[in-house]
Amino acid sequence: MPHDGKNQSGVQEQGGGGCAALSVCQGKAERTGSERAHNQFLSGNEAAAEGVRLCRPQVIAAYPITPQTTLVERLSEFVAERAFPCKYLLVESEHSAMAAVMGAAMMGSRVFTATSSQGLLYMCEMLSYVSGSRYPIVLVNANRATATPWNIFGDQRDSVAMRDSGWIQFYVESGQESLDTIIQAYRVAEHPEVSTPVMVNIDGFTLTHTYDLVNIPGQEAVDAFLPPLKTANRLSLENPRSLSINIGPDYHLESRYQEQKAFQAAEKVIAQTDEDFARKFGRKYYGMAERYRCEDAECVLAVMGSVAGTVRTVVDRLRTEGKRVGMIKVRCLRPFPRALFAAQEAPCKALGVLDRNISFGYEGALYTEARAAMYRPGASIRTLNFIAGLGGRDISRSDIALMFEKLARLAGGSFEEELQYIGLRWS
């Protein structure tokens, strides 16, 4: 993802008309079909809103919740300014938000909604309605702790709790990646072999409220990348349909088998979409997971979300000190990049997993997933689970350096407690 040097070097937009001009219109950009790519200084939520705008959903329904609010505020402004043709439904709850966008998706419209934390939990019932019937809906979740204790700050317990809702889940590292992933998400969701809803998770505050330089692709380029939604999975006067029907024991397994196959197809489609995106927009995210400086790494730390950016800086610094460290950035929790973890082998000696969640009575959820994928008899890689960043607690560079220190000790053969709480005020 990172491209060094002066940012005006610009981004190639093939098919979008050569080198993108650096436009200097912040906020009230002229939005025409021929709008060029340009840079803005935006919060993660605003960047996400730009991503949604470029995908032109026909119906948006959303209910406000911190820290998602500035995203839906910006979208309601776009709709009021007629930046794209869209009906924005001011619904009375998150449950209704998801029900309303499902209703519109049933009619064959492209739709969008966003929520966070308790709102996502309140939507939970609708999430399975949407995924079971395979409507290609895109949802942004601003990751936030779940009550109680009441806490509006970031962690990933909300979306991790929805792991088995049948939604594809992306976790992103930056505002730019939020914007880009939303565009990718629609293309993945709407792929006929996938036709599965996608949840794009953006760390609350750390990303949603942090301003950053964001390149906004041109509308034409996005339109070419993401053609209008076509699906047979919809109502129509020409081909009347019964949708979201009851399927009993006789064919329920067969229906679920289809869903699993859709996720298997999604693995390839996510990788392909990312490659196509990189060709068109010049930014690459490595599909379901990125390996950062892992080639000869002895100690590797696997993470999800914005902390990946901080880990990059620590890996870079430790590398200058000659330490062989690397990072796996898990971008998709579902489908899970099982092959990448399964292929983890020497020289890797220790793998740590940083979880901004905890599944009480066991361990961090990503840790369980990673270890299960890595399992084979006689495997020699040792593992540690770091629980950190809950309820908005900062994960500092020194916290991450400490994790690598522990991994190095583990790699060297010393004993380390498997489940570690980073920054716990007492031990």
Binding site: R134, N233, P240, R241, S242, L243, Q258
Partner: protein
């Protein structure tokens, strides 16, 4: 014409025949309801004045008015007896099945 049972319908035998997601074509009848009845309505066309109250009141829409005389679609009549009970001319009698 009342909708009819699709006698040719076969449940999916392969992955390709399985419905996509939960999307099915509307209006597919794969079973009849005739086995639900203990009594069946029989219309005495001599008494019937074609007021259509039975046709309107039938929960199953099983009264057929398209012919010259009202008739009953016994594939889908469940024998509830509302038609007979509501008929102002007592033109419908409920007859025990099997007789």
């Amino acid at each position: 014409m009342k909708p009819r049972l699709n006698k040719d319908y076969r449940l999916p035998a392969s992955e390709e025949e399985m419905t996509f997601g939960t999307a099915c074509a509307t209006g597919l009848l794969t079973a009849v309801n005739s086995g639900w009845r203990t009594f069946r309505p029989v219309i005495d066309s001599m008494k019937c004045v074609h007021c259509l109250i039975c046709w309107v009141c039938c929960p199953d829409g099983a009264i057929d008015r398209e012919g010259r005389e009202l008739s009953v679609d016994y594939d889908y009549c469940k024998g509830c007896g509302i038609c007979a009970h509501e008929c102002p001319r007592q033109a419908i009698s409920m007859v025990k099945e099997g007789k």
